[in-house]
């Protein structure tokens, strides 16, 4: 028996799946193969937290907010109650106060994060789609320019049928057999849980994939349940009464599938003979087993929860209501000018910076070695061109500032979201807080102090890795894929 570790399962196993590894209903973030989805997620990665607002030398002669005298845009009193027309900007600086906004990454990691399989939606032109599966590009462009509410939103990536069937089947098995029967009724405890959807990944027995592997324990007795879902490519169950169950193709598929199953059973028998206090059960399900059950489609995948096509207005309302969460490709999104303050832009984006024309004299003096244009993270009051932002950020901007026009969202990569890191991160934060409290004790020996400080650093590293690890590139050779035999 061996396990094939993937990049994602390895990362999650090392850093944050400890508390979710054996949760039969937890779904891990999946690896995505769609290039467009991956590009859009990558475009949304905007780091950079150092914020500089530089005028020149900051000393006792520095006049506070002198640049705001030139502001012509009236700021709304609701948004900025302290900014009034009578403000005079002639006071000089007397002291500098340091402010520290703490624990952003740690706290942010505890908030709802994407998991599972994403759904890609694109804004398209409806009438042409209804006629035939072609998009009228010119009509689309015209609608985008004039009135995007005339457009429609269409699902682009169709999740593989096999994937969907297997997902629902494994979920149903985890819910009804494992949790309801074994855990609740028979008082077993789940020790190990491996599936294609759990963070620990899928398990193989020799060269046979097992769709779910559950190790249960009650006192000294252990029970392993191997669950296999034989989808339509395996043919139907021999007892199936579906009309087309006995076609030649179906019979051939069934034979191959049965041979494999027999080999698996032989391996399981050898396993049983060599293990004490271990019960092994193999369960095989076919699509025809679910023909008369309607409740196994719980926890719907996004592809089944979101309509194939919907109007742009409906889509936008769902985004505003936070029902659709994920990454949005927005075009020229502009904040309400009366709610924006000219000393700070809240639309954070990567943008081309030309030091010659854009740097203030102070910036030129400080960064005189920088002369070429380069990409930098800047804050503006609009997203220039096409930018990818997360829906939570989009909603923050809407609620705080409002948008000038109805926003145009060209694509959306929607995910299901859950706070699956909260427990682990909170544990590490509490651990660090307790260590800090202990370190305040003046009676500690130097050795005790050193041990506590190293524990504190380890906890901090683990918290920081919660996001840093997700952004590591495979190509950097920092991550490896290996097989644990």
């Amino acid at each position: 028996m061996f396990r094939k570790w993937t990049i994602s399962s390895l990362a999650y196993y090392l850093f944050y799946i400890e508390n979710k590894a054996n949760d039969p209903l937890h779904v891990a973030p999946g690896k995505v193969h769609d290039p467009l989805i991956n590009i859009l997620c990558d475009e949304c990665v905007v780091g950079g937290y150092t914020c500089a607002h530089s005028h020149g030398d900051v000393d006792s002669n520095f006049i506070i907010n002198q640049h705001l005298e030139k502001v012509s845009v009236p700021l709304s009193s609701r948004a900025f109650p302290s900014f009034t027309a009578t403000n005079t900007f002639d006071k000089k600086m007397s002291k500098v106060i340091g402010l520290d906004i703490r624990a952003q990454y740690a706290y942010s990691s505890t908030l709802p994060l994407p998991y599972g399989v994403p759904l890609l939606l694109s804004t398209i032109n409806v009438p042409s789609m209804k006629k035939k599966s072609l998009i009228d590009v010119k009509g689309f462009c015209n609608a985008v320019q004039t009135n995007p509410t005339n457009l429609s939103v269409q699902t682009i990536n169709i999740v593989d049928r096999m994937f969907k069937e297997e997902y629902y089947s494994v979920r149903e098995f985890m819910r009804s057999r494992v949790l309801e029967e074994e855990v609740k009724q028979n008082r077993y405890e789940v020790i190990k849980c491996y599936s294609n959807y759990s963070p620990t990944g899928q398990i193989n027995i020799r060269h046979f994939f097992v769709d779910a592997y559950i190790l249960l324990k009650k006192k000294h007795h252990k029970k392993i349940i191997l669950f296999q879902y034989n989808g339509y490519t395996h043919g139907c169950r021999p007892s199936c009464r579906v009309k087309d169950a006995f076609t030649t193709e179906n019979m051939q598929r069934r034979k191959v599938s049965y041979d494999k199953h027999e080999t698996l059973l032989k391996l399981v028998n050898i396993w049983k003979r060599n293990s004490k206090n271990l019960e092994i059960e193999v369960i095989v399900k076919y699509p025809c087993d679910y023909l008369h059950t309607s409740n196994h489609h719980q926890d719907k995948l996004l592809v089944d929860a979101i309509p194939q096509q919907q109007s742009y207005q409906t889509f936008l309302e769902k985004v505003y209501a936070n029902e659709y969460q994920g990454f949005l490709v927005v075009k020229n999104l502009q904040l309400q000018p009366q709610n924006s303050i000219p000393s700070m832009g809240f639309c954070v984006q990567r943008s081309e910076i030309d030091p010659k024309t854009m740097f203030t004299p102070h910036m030129k003096n400080t960064y005189h070695s920088v002369s070429k244009s380069s990409i930098a993270v800047v804050g503006l009051n609009n997203f220039k061109g096409i930018k990818v932002i997360h829906s939570s950020y989009f909603l923050f901007l809407k609620e705080t500032f409002g948008f000038v026009e109805n926003p145009l969202i060209l694509h959306a990569v929607l995910y299901q979201h859950a706070s699956f890191l909260k427990k682990e991160i909170d544990y590490q934060l509490q651990l660090r807080s307790d260590i800090k409290t202990k370190l305040k004790n003046p009676l500690l020996s130097s050795e005790e102090r050193q041990i506590l400080e190293s524990s504190s650093s380890r906890a901090k590293l683990q918290i920081n890795s919660s996001y840093g690890f997700t952004l590591l590139k495979q190509g950097k050779n920092l991550l490896i894929v290996y097989e644990n035999n």
Binding site: L36, N38, T50, K91, L380, T400, Q474
Partner: protein
């Protein structure tokens, strides 16, 4: 953002590609020529994508941005602008121009 790839195809070949994955739009140029838009881009498709958990990381960064900007917004909207100015935020190292969060207006 250059994630669309455009290609010119003849009317004869267009029928064969209608159901092909990746094709997202057609535009008829003239009687025999169509412009086809594909969603893949050559320089991105050279290998499998390299950040399998980028969605999680991007989401964490977005959340943290909201925390930071929410705090800045609170300060900006409540400080008396004639008496206090938000000059500088973050760690005092500005050695790399790529990571400067600056202000343009």
């Amino acid at each position: 953002m250059p994630y669309l790839q455009e290609k010119l195809m003849s009317a004869k070949n267009i029928a064969r590609t209608v159901d092909r994955p990746g094709i997202i739009a057609y535009e008829r140029m003239n009687k025999d020529l169509y412009k086809v838009a594909k969603k893949s881009v050559t320089y991105y498709s050279s290998s499998e994508f390299t950040t399998p958990l980028a969605a999680v990381g991007a989401c964490i960064l977005s959340h943290s941005k909201i925390v930071l900007l929410d705090n800045i917004h609170f300060l900006l909207s409540h400080l008396d602008p004639s008496k206090a100015e938000l000059l500088y935020l973050g760690k005092p190292f500005l050695s790399k121009i790529n990571y400067i969060f600056t202000v343009l207006f």
